[in-house]
Symmetry: C2
Subunit: 394 residues, 2 copies
């Protein structure tokens, strides 16, 4: 039998130690571009730069991470400087004339690619909000809120975002619905406004009524306009890590609003998604499943990526905090042990990102346009804070 | 020591037998849509339909395969009917009003998605040409040629195809250059026109001067406007199977034109790409390599897909026919043995498509929007014909 206090104290120490002595130094030393501002994320195993292309998602995510660590772990001035440098790079180089953001730019900020989504904008917005919280600079709170309103305008005005499908093909995606919960929640900390609460309510409504499908015990990634199940490869897809991330966004909100119904929804999503995601053969959370148990068609379907494991660590801690149910602490142990056995690089710093199903490393780079300083440090910061809260209340 | 005559006779028998008794019946029975015309390719291991979405690439590829098998293996009337049914579906449902083709449509032909490339058009064009050859119907030769001219117009007229990157980012891709060799070569059989020969010359020029990089002993997938090497993850990518496919497109042309220099170019590409692609640890042709030996960032980088193996079987047979060098027949044996040991399903018909690096099956479906009746039957038809030619000349 584990002793929860001892167990959580151990993890709390490890999260903080890894963040301070491994993860943050790796990105500040190897990723932060002190010359142009911003961050490089295409780093090889040893931290050397493989590609100077800058991911705009990661400009926002790195600035957020630095400010978030500053707000929750340590008043480290270098982190604040890195956040400011990256926000300056974002404001100077990452917006197109129409107010939308690029997807990738060169080292010195020349636009490379713009995509049909608004995820660059959502990550910039949480960075601005978290930086406003760190500095008490109201300008950044206003910028974050203005960007949120722009995101809504881009999403709601026909013609601004190119549709992926032809006219008449009407699909709803889980990604934007779930990310807007987190964006609204981050901005609300520095800019309380009713439309942010409304956004969260609207997202929760959509999750409950459109994306959660009890007939499959699953939250689906893509559904029809009124949540209809559509029987194609794409629309049968379950992304367990993504759903588990959603579950803790909801638990965070339920905790803040003392909303027992919302907690119940969150736990349902977590339990469903754990059952679909946990690989009882090899361990870890698998990338994709098909809600009818047909073979998923994404090439990476049976791989183990770093971020679903991080989300599962956070979600099970939140669930334990909310319920006191040892089931969640046991699961936290199960996912943490597998994750810490397979992902951290014992020869260099930081974590591998891409493992085969059996836990062997598929390729050892530490970052690319999709992996960088976000899920791993965010997991450590949130999990450290949760451990501290639980310990201080016990 | 192998006896080439006996070896080639064995393979020749196997190609024909597999095509007639396994591959073609599988797709005619399970894929061909006798109700609406055209073909379903999203089939599970046992041939059952997982998704009725129709890939427009595969409407062209299936119609091509049926007519190609008819022209080279057996005057099977069902194949010709399936080709006609699929060409009718293409002409009725797969073209947008602007003359460009969709990427996917519903079972009954409603447009789902249109992409920024012209590969749907290239596969429809080879289908029309091969059907014209099968039936001697000049209308289809004219249609194929007109579609070729449309493809060129789409590619060369600014504003028709949405650019993937921002203004000022000027990249050349290998895919369209190599596929146009095959398209021009197919159409030329039924519609000899100087612009088709010119296309092949132009593509060969680009391969030699832009895409072949002797400093890496590699043909790169993406280069600068004048073939410049660009040091990013994307532009360091080598796709060995794709390059090996290009090599036999060139060997086919070199054979027809008795062009010794072109044969030399083709063999250089084959030898380079074999060295990058052959996995000396587990066997088979690997998906992606990085020309500086950095970790490739595509998630499927170390998987073994069905089609690169098929292309390597064809290319080594062509190279043996052209040179008589036993090295190529040994390599044909090496790739064939690995391929036939791992890909054919021994329980149901057809081949698996997606293996892990070590040759285990990643997921067992027989098709999706990217795998269907093309690379496997084309390999069998070409390889059967090559074996027969070599045997009759020895």
């Amino acid at each position: 039998m584990m002793n929860p206090t001892e167990y959580l104290q151990n993890w709390s120490d490890r999260y903080k130690d890894d963040l301070l002595n491994n993860i943050m130094p790796f990105w500040l030393k190897n990723g932060w571009d002190r010359l142009h501002g911003g961050v490089y994320t295409c780093l090889n195993r040893d931290g050397s730069i493989m590609d100077t292309t800058k991911s705009v998602w990661f400009q926002g995510r790195f600035a957020f991470t630095c400010a978030y660590a500053y707000n929750n772990i340590q008043k480290n001035n270098e982190w604040l400087m890195a956040a400011k440098s990256t926000l300056d790079f974002i404001e100077q180089h990452c917006f197109d004339k129409d107010g939308r953001m690029y997807f990738s730019v060169t080292a010195d900020g020349k636009p490379l690619r713009k995509r049909r989504y608004v995820f660059s904008e959502t990550f910039a917005a949480i960075a601005m909000a978290e930086y406003a919280l760190a500095t008490n600079d109201k300008n950044y709170a206003q910028k974050a809120f203005d960007l949120f309103k722009d995101i809504k305008r881009f999403l709601e005005t026909p013609g601004i975002l190119d549709p992926k499908f032809e006219q008449g093909v009407d699909l709803r995606g889980h990604s934007i619905v779930m990310i807007l919960i987190n964006v609204a929640s981050c901005i609300r900390k520095v800019y309380p406004d009713a439309i942010l609460d409304e956004q969260i309510k609207e997202s929760v409504y959509q999750l409950r009524h459109y994306f959660m499908h009890p007939e499959f015990s699953a939250l689906l990634e893509t559904v029809g306009p009124n949540g209809e199940f559509i029987d194609t490869n794409l629309t049968r897809t379950i992304n367990p890590g993504h759903c588990i991330e959603t579950s803790w966004f909801l638990m965070e909100e339920a905790k803040q609003k003392r909303d027992a119904e919302l907690l119940k929804t969150a736990l349902t999503i977590l339990d469903w998604s754990w059952d679909w995601g946990w690989d009882s053969t090899y361990g870890g959370i698998i990338n994709f499943r098909d809600c009818k148990n047909l073979p998923p068609q994404d090439y990476s379907q049976d791989m183990k990526f770093w971020w679903p494991q991080c989300e599962a660590i956070i979600a099970n801690l939140y669930a334990y905090q909310a319920t006191g149910d040892m089931k969640y602490l046991e699961r936290h142990k199960q996912i943490s042990e597998w994750t810490y056995e397979h992902f951290p690089d014992t020869e260099y710093d930081e974590w591998f990102g891409y493992l085969h199903r059996d836990g062997t490393v598929a390729q050892p780079a530490k970052g690319n346009l999709y992996k960088g300083p976000f899920h791993v440090p965010r997991m450590m910061i949130i999990s450290y804070s949760l451990c501290q809260e639980i310990l201080s209340n016990s």
